[in-house]
Structure formats: structure tokens, C-alpha cells
Symmetry: C2
Subunit: 202 residues, 2 copies
């Protein structure tokens, strides 16, 4: 692509490094910023730099936070007997948005994936095992995506957690709310029958 | 959406102002930047700010440029007898990428659109009429998208250009290269027959 300006070319190249942004989209974003007030670009750039420089990771659960210990870990109203283990920060946000969970979290920072060269030592598993003895945790809720890598990680964790006196649970598999039986895959539909619950329970 | 950090929330809100970027995409971009080196975010922010502050518009053709007069207008090798009128800077980039056009440009900065409140005075039409008398231009090539607004703009321009001794042309309408006759709409296919050219001409 030929650009009429080196400055635009630089901006497009930087934007195109973002995931899911190709050069055409990057050009559209750059031209949009050129049309808007200068102030818009300044506040975008400032917000990104400020975030990258100042965001911390919670020392206890590895969630992102503005403070050393995150708002969830330091909240006295949270149920300290349940600990939800997730792979990513986005999972914490997704679960928090349901308003159905009041316990604590532990963010692994990924899943075990031999293909990508990610082993247990690359994840925050040691710090999970370290925080358990001094904690009030009685239940570990594994909320890891049901993929090959996710299931491997779950299996590894249950073995590591065997020595602790804990109830280990996982999120229910079943037909999504609003989903059609007809279009649900066999494994999911099968599990939704095996793990059937009393009608009208929720 | 609940965010675990005010800094991330700010960054997401700023990113979500970009066209085609929703809050979920914005969060994905923000978390991507958090995973990458700090340097990445810095160079993105710097490129955007530098572009927004320093990019100029060519005084002659209104194309974006790093200088007062753009590289195309100041290039002695360009054919100064043809002037291509386009609505947007992106059209200049698209035409330049074909390597089939060696003339000059004039960027209108939009098309006439009564619904969006854009009239002829909001476009760079006056400056087009002003640059013509002192120029060597013999042909005006209208390369405006064949929409309702584009055709209105073309019609308006041809009336304004009547008093000049100019050949007025427009880009050919026809079946796209690689396109299937069967799936081409009737108007396009009809025009491709009316405006048929000698076989093997290009």
C-alpha cells in the first residue's frame, strides 16, 4: 500500500500490530482520528500509556488491579470459603458480570498447552498452592474453558489439590439458555441429561 | 461491564470510540497491550499523537501530506493534464495502488448529502474551480462512488465545470474482474453491454 504521508504510514503500522486489525482497518482508524478533534487522539494515547504504565497485578490472585491487592481480594464482603480458578482476566470480568458469584478468584494466566510450549510452571499454579494453607478456602470452583488444553489444566490441578481437604467443583455443562436442543452438539446434550437437575430449581 | 481497574476502564472507553470497535474488542486490545512490552504501547501512542499533530493537508489537492504541497502535486513526472476528482483520501490511496493513473488529484472531502446536511459549500469544490484556470488540466476524471449521493455530486460538478473547456470523463462501470455474469446486478450488466469495448483492448 502506498501512503501519501510517512506519519500516517507509521500510525497504520502501529495500529495493524493490534490483534484483529489489518492494514485496511488500521487506515480507517487513522483517518477517523484525523477527522476528529486533536483532543480525542491525545486522550486515547494518554489512556493507553497510563494503563500500560500504572496497571498492577494483584499479588494474591493475579487479577489486574490499580492497587497491590485487588478490590475483590480486599473486599470483606466476599465469601472467602470459595475460590474460583480461571485462566484469564477476561473470565473474571465475565463471571463478575453475572452477579452470581461472591467468592474469590485465582487467575492462572493461561492453560497448559504443550503445542505452544506452556507448561504448569508458566502458570500461577505454585502461588495457588501457596495461598491455600493460610486461607479459609473450602471449595475450589474450576471455571476453565472445556477445551483440550483447559481439561488438561483442570486434570493437573485436581491432582495437585488432592492433598488439601477441599471440595473441587466445576461450572455446569449443558444447553445454553436460549439455545435450541436440535442444534446442541451430542456431547453437551448428553452431559445435560446425565447432569439433569430438579425442574424449577433456579 | 465491571472492570477490575479504572485504568483499564478508561483505556477501553477511549478505544471503543474508534469506528467498528465495541467494548469487547476494546477490552481485547487493552489486554493485548498489557501482555506486550511497554515499548509497544509507547510507540503506538507516539505514532498516533505525532500523526494527529503533524499531518498536513495539501494546499492544492487537499490530500493528506507531510508537507504543504503533497508528493503527487509536486512530482514533475505526473501528467498535469488530467485531474482525478475523488471524495475521500482513501480513494487516492486505492487508485495509486493500481499504478494505472499518473495524473493529479483533487479530494472533495465527502459527497453532497442533504440527509447528512452536507452541501456543496462543505466540500472542496470552490478550490477545484479556482485551481483550474491557471492549470494545464485538459481532462477531469470523476472517480466518485456510484451511489445516490455520489451521482448527485457528479451531476453538480459537471454543471459547474461546463464553462471550462475540459473533457469530463468518469471511471468505467462494468462487471468486476473475476466477477460472474450470473451474479452481477442488471444495471451494472446493462451498462457493461452499452459501454462495451474492443476485445483484447487492455
Amino acid at each position: 500500500m502506498n501512503f501519501p504521508s510517512k506519519l500516517i504510514e507509521n500510525a497504520v503500522e502501529e495500529l495493524a500490530k493490534l490483534p484483529g486489525v489489518g492494514r485496511k482497518t488500521a487506515l480507517r482508524l487513522a483517518l477517523h482520528l484525523l477527522k476528529e478533534e486533536t483532543e480525542e487522539t491525545f486522550s486515547l494515547a494518554e489512556a493507553l500509556v497510563k494503563m500500560r504504565t500504572d496497571v498492577k497485578h494483584c499479588k494474591t490472585c493475579h487479577n489486574i488491579s490499580d492497587t497491590e491487592i485487588c478490590d475483590i481480594c480486599s473486599n470483606p464482603l466476599r465469601d472467602k470459603s470459595v475460590l474460583c480458578v480461571v485462566s484469564d482476566i477476561r473470565d473474571v470480568i465475565a463471571i463478575e458480570n453475572t452477579s452470581q458469584y461472591k467468592g474469590l478468584y485465582h487467575v492462572l494466566g493461561g492453560v497448559i498447552s504443550p503445542i505452544e510450549g506452556i507448561g504448569p510452571s508458566d502458570l500461577h499454579i505454585d502461588s495457588l498452592l501457596e495461598r491455600l494453607p493460610a486461607s479459609e478456602v473450602r471449595e475450589i470452583l474450576l471455571a476453565i474453558s472445556p477445551t483440550m488444553e483447559g481439561d488438561t489444566t483442570g486434570f493437573y490441578l485436581t491432582r495437585k489439590l488432592r492433598d488439601f481437604d477441599l471440595r473441587i467443583t466445576t461450572i455446569a455443562r449443558g444447553v445454553p439458555v436460549g439455545g435450541e436442543l436440535e442444534y446442541t452438539d451430542e456431547i453437551t446434550l448428553g452431559r445435560s441429561i446425565v447432569e439433569r437437575t430438579a425442574y424449577g430449581k433456579v
